[in-house]
Subunit: 362 residues, 3 copies
């Protein structure tokens, strides 16, 4: 971080890099990105909402990314330099990345790393101290293996991938290019597979692997189990948050998002561009269609069709869940009301010479 703050970038260069258009001083130098309210003249920020855009004359930033369609109407007031862009937040993310390029935390292969036999290591790849690279592992170019990471036998890791500290990638797993695996995560642990043997459990050897596609980012302290046979598959561009558990034989389609502490049981098939919110759970062998959205803490026990939005336990249409959520706290009152109505009904029935016969197990 410190290192990158030395050199400023002129606004026109930022605009060109993200495909935006400059208004104001194109030579203005900025040194970092910052949130709208905290940006000073050395920083670039972005404004996307009408509320923020209205505050533009008060913004002290050196430059602001604004919507393409934005036409300032502040009279003669001085405004920061603007970069007009169709998607200001996206442009700002890319500008941030220019100020924070992938770091190379150290150089070369640490003499304290453990390196197995027959390892292939691409150019500019670095391996930290206390890391371990197993036999016949193949590391692509510009790979970063942080200290304390374990890379098992026959693992393959694509170009430009970063394996953070204390990550474990067990034998035979295949990791794509430009992947980030955050600290503490375990890839390729054995799936939870046993079969009864009398009163004990006999282990079913887990002989498959995990495959992770290009551009995936796996959060900290995830566990992704190897398949019993074949592969547990994480698609290209998948992003997982922290503490996500993915069991054996699961497949996750390209560009899906899985938020923290969600758990996916064995053999679930998740489509592309699915969103699974935090602390949700998906029962084994289900199919979640492309573009489906699973709400926070949902407990999914049925297949979910493409594009559906489900929430709750058990899973239901999200709008239905919103109604259920309002109804649950009122359930005791409802029950009381029903008992009172029961009494009144009985009284009417007696008056009419009938006998009530509801059986309440309340």
């Amino acid at each position: 971080m410190k290192d990158s703050e030395g050199s400023g970038i002129p606004v026109f260069q930022l605009a060109r890099a993200v495909g935006g258009e400059v208004e104001g001083d194109p030579e203005r130098l900025v040194f970092r990105g910052a949130p709208f309210d905290h940006a000073d003249e050395t920083a670039v920020t972005f404004a996307e909402t009408p509320a923020l855009l209205k505050k533009l004359p008060d913004c002290r930033a050196g430059a602001v990314v604004v919507p393409e369609s934005f036409e300032p109407s502040f009279g003669g007031k001085t405004l920061p330099a603007r970069i007009r862009h169709e998607k200001p937040r996206l442009a700002f993310a890319k500008i941030m990345a220019m100020f924070h390029p992938r770091k190379r935390p150290f150089a070369g292969i640490s003499p304290e790393a453990g390196i197995g036999r027959g390892v292939s290591i691409g150019s500019e790849t670095v391996v930290g101290s206390a890391a371990y690279i197993g036999n016949r592992a193949v590391l692509g170019e510009r790979v970063v293996i942080y200290p304390g990471a374990f890379v098992g036998d026959d693992v393959s890791i694509g170009d430009d991938t970063e394996i953070m500290p204390n990550v474990t990638v067990m034998d035979g797993c295949i990791i794509g290019r430009r992947v980030i695996i955050h600290a503490g995560t375990v890839i390729g642990s054995d799936g939870f597979g046993f079969t009864p043997e009398g009163e004990t459990h006999c282990k079913i050897p887990q002989t498959g692997i995990v495959e992770i596609g290009d551009d995936a980012e796996i959060g900290a302290c995830n566990t992704i189990d190897r398949a019993t046979f074949g592969s547990t598959r994480i698609g290209c561009g998948v992003k997982t948050d922290n503490m996500v558990h993915i069991a054996h034989n699961v497949s996750v389609g390209d560009h899906s998002l899985i938020v923290a502490q969600a758990g996916i049981a064995g053999s679930v098939r998740i489509g592309s561009r699915v969103t699974i919110a935090g602390q949700a759970g998906i029962a084994g062998h289900l199919v979640i269609g492309d573009g489906a959205v699973i709400g926070p803490r949902a407990g999914v026990v049925r297949n979910v069709d493409s594009g559906r939005v489900v929430s709750g336990t058990p899973d239901m249409d999200h709008r239905q869940w919103l109604r259920v959520q309002r109804a649950i706290p009122r359930l005791p009152g409802l029950a009381k009301q029903v008992q009172e109505m029961e009494r009144r009904l009985r009284s009417l029935e007696q008056a009419a010479g009938k006998t009530g016969d509801s059986e309440s197990d309340w």
Copy 2:
């Protein structure tokens, strides 16, 4: 994996090892296990269900484990060699293990490992680079300590146990024989014990240990806390999935199963052969009887008798939970119906000269 595929095993030898009976060519060599639909002539598979058994003539496997009672009736069609066994899945698991014997990932004690004073290391035990073995630790025979694992002072580890990469076993813990502890797991961290001191919290020193019985298998990224006094106990043959949390002073009886992301609060006593499904939680100090089953995502707040099957939050009889699960999404409709009935009831009462008096807090 690669290494084991070199040598085939004749079918008669597999059958003898698992106690099965051969039909067809006993000398047939097979080189691996595979699922029914993917097995080719070099592979052995198994078929247990009528549906699969019916497809036997189309199966390309070199050999198939079938039920003892299975009598093929496919006319003159050629069938793969068969191994008849009372429990085909169990026999197949054992055959798989023959093709995938426990791996010795490296030899000897790595010169890059940190070894404390007074350590005792049994014959054929291996310790990887960047592993640490604390003072007075005792490692049995044929133990495998993977790179990056930490074994604290006075820890004892039984014969044939495997400690996977980046596992932490803190001081004084006792690990049995033939145990597997998967990557990233922490055994013997301090229990969560504090007592109020004004507006702050005073730590209660956690001075006990964790004991893990023979043949247990602990999943990846588990946390099992040491007892305040005495031991947190994990019985023989217990199997835990990934991200299971077991708090201080818990005991888990022999051969129980705990599925991913379940959490067991302090001092819970779990019997033998209990099953706790994924994402379930058990409140502190409860007793779960032998053979009980706790459903997925259940929130258990009461003791559970031996052999009971409970689900839901709060925990209830599993069959009741199935009914509740169906009822929950319909709750808003029920509430609406009750309000409508309230109106009709009032109308009847008015006609009868009575006054309705239910109080609805809906």
Copy 3:
């Protein structure tokens, strides 16, 4: 542990250290703390409840911490030495700490540790083998860095802090004094921040840090993400249990407690002395007031005022949740009763010449 058991401490010295008053033999030597029922004459214990105090003549402990107001009335029976104290449990915790002082598991800086450029290391600080200390990191005095821990570039760690094995502290994070970070925990991983780019997700660089206040204790296998900008803040004296997830930009006020497997989504602001029970989840951007209590497994979707106690999903007043919890298992019975009442109501209406019109979607 073993080491500390050699030297006994006289009762008067324990009493003086905790500010208590001795009755009985002040020179009595005790060697350890123990639970009431397991304490022998070499151990000190405590008794706080009337039930335990009544059993005092049968207690074999060498000394017992009792309430200040306790007046023994057991006739001539011999009692163990007593330390009278306003808060026996607290006094006992402090006595336990005297028998279990912070351990220095090894001395000096291991030659097998990886040490970056420009590192500053305070006096009596120790760094274990296979640990890594990044460039320009600052370690205070008497810091303990266990084997396998990773401390990133520009990290600052205060005096007397302990970083347990296989912990990861990423670049730039600031850890206070007397902090304990238990094994496997990840501090300063990237927050889960992406913005759509067509059908893919563009990473928003996470450029902030994590700051942890003095006297905090972070459990095993926690994940605390760095802020997008600025800091994710963990206050002084905060205690987290195992597997707690804290997302980017969260702030946790001083002396709050967070129990195992709870998850806090991004930008949540948690006040001081808040308690968040196990497996609870708090949705993003909420504010939890000082002293609030969040029940076990609660799913909080609204702000919680200071001092409130909420439970359930969705969150509700805890007493209301107790009623709801009783009502949920009875919901199917209630639904059945309502359908039966519907039938009876219709029958009364027909008798009265009216037509029922409830619409049931049951």
